[in-house]
Amino acid sequence: MTDLGSNIIGIEEDRVTNTHSNDFPAYSQSIGSGWDLEAFKKKFQLNVSFITERTANFDLIGLDTSIANAYRRIMISEVPSVAIEYVYIFNNTSVIQDEVLSHRLGLVPLKVDPDLLTWVDQSADEKDKFTDENTIVLTLNVTCTKNPNATKGDNRPENLYRNSNVYARDLKFEPQGRQLETFKDHPVVPCDPDILLAKLRPGQEISLRAHCILGIGSDHAKFSPVATASYRLMPQINILQPITGQDALKFQECFPSGVIGINEKGEAFVKDPRKDTVSREVLRHERFKGKVTLGRVRDHFIYNVESTGAMTPEEIFFKSVRILRNKAEYIRNCPIGNVN
């Protein structure tokens, strides 16, 4: 059992303990101090492990789950991005149905900076709804033909036919109005050009026009800018009694490689708890009873954000923080009405 006010979540063989935050003044004066931004600033830590083009991994330390979780939720469902929303099909003689093809098109992540588009006014007239400020037009025109130069004896469709596979890279950007200028340096392309959209055979054709608009993940998952956005809590391993010799090797094997080290005296020590998956394997062995406790640090969040490619992952997190701030400020400035 852990003490009241401890920020370690206990992980035992068959239960978890101390899972809730209780740092509230109304709970206990001794552990729950009132909100103090300066104290928070002192306690708060942000460490970035790595940021690649598509993935970011960073730690936020010292904040409450409710706020950490809000950022995660916002990244998934409220950070806007651009996706195909309307598809106008001129001809589709392929075996894949219009609506299925349209759905597949919608899910293709596009490399568009969402800040370059404005929101579509859904209440506007149909003819004024789409402008060069809020809509991106893509076209897809593919016809499959026989390959006259096919090698004899090679029966692969790629050899026998031309355009037998329709890929995301076949979507062509058609700049409208001022988009010729605004998108000059970064034309709209799918983030992953090799997504297979449809298969064709000679004589079959797909000809369509797609309108891409801004949207958010809570409306449709295709608008979510992240493939995954998640956090886990920092694992903690406490070795209570020395574990040596054969036991140390066995102990090391209970954890993923790199978590437990063995020093020159043959004694096991915790090398890198961050790598632990908290599998609890070690708790199944009688010989380690009472020698080790497992836990997680309640206010140490290890975020992993994987972008679909339209925005950098750090931009997505940054936007999520800004969105939560805007929500709070917006409601702060709203007059409080009465329910009728």
């Binding site: 003044p25 708060f44 970035v48 993935t55 702060r332 009405g337 329910v339």
Partner: protein, 148 residues
């Protein structure tokens, strides 16, 4: 205990009046058309006071539309961090209605509305701080750019 609690509301009132002044100052700085427009576009539907609030305003429930657990839980935490607040809870009464209810009970030295506003301000300030920290870290470029 009593010393602290007597001081707190005074401090909060001062903070409140300061921010109100700042807003007025900003509005005066902007042009008149923008000011008029802001008056017209005030959102009276976003947050409402639910029936059943106490006479002195120390206990009240609010209903916020188009919000969910994202804001609800974070706001509840921030309001509960206020030493003047005895209880705060939120609920989403029905999953297919986009409404969120927040109930606040204070000890009486602060009204529920004041506690709500303090919670919202605190939340916005935390976000502003994390925003700055994150931006500074990213700009420092002091991290790996390849997945280990």
């Amino acid at each position: 205990m009593s010393d602290k609690e007597e001081e707190q509301p005074v401090e909060n009132k001062v903070e409140g009046s300061e921010s109100a002044e700042n807003q007025v100052g900003q509005q005066e700085g902007g042009d008149e058309d923008a000011e008029m427009e802001e008056e017209d576009t005030l959102d009276y539907e976003k947050i409402k006071l639910l029936p059943g609030a106490s006479e002195d305003g120390s206990i009240a429930s609010f209903q916020i539309v188009d919000e969910d657990h994202t804001l609800g839980n974070a706001l509840r935490y921030m309001i509960m961090k206020n030493p003047e607040v005895e209880f705060c809870g939120y609920s989403i009464p029905h999953p297919s209605e986009n409404k969120m209810n927040v109930r606040i009970q204070t000890y009486g030295d602060q009204t529920a509305v004041q506690a709500l506003h303090k919670g919202l301000d605190d939340l916005a300030n935390v976000c502003a701080f994390i925003e700055d920290e994150f931006l500074a870290k990213v700009n420092a470029k002091d991290f790996a750019t390849e997945e280990p």
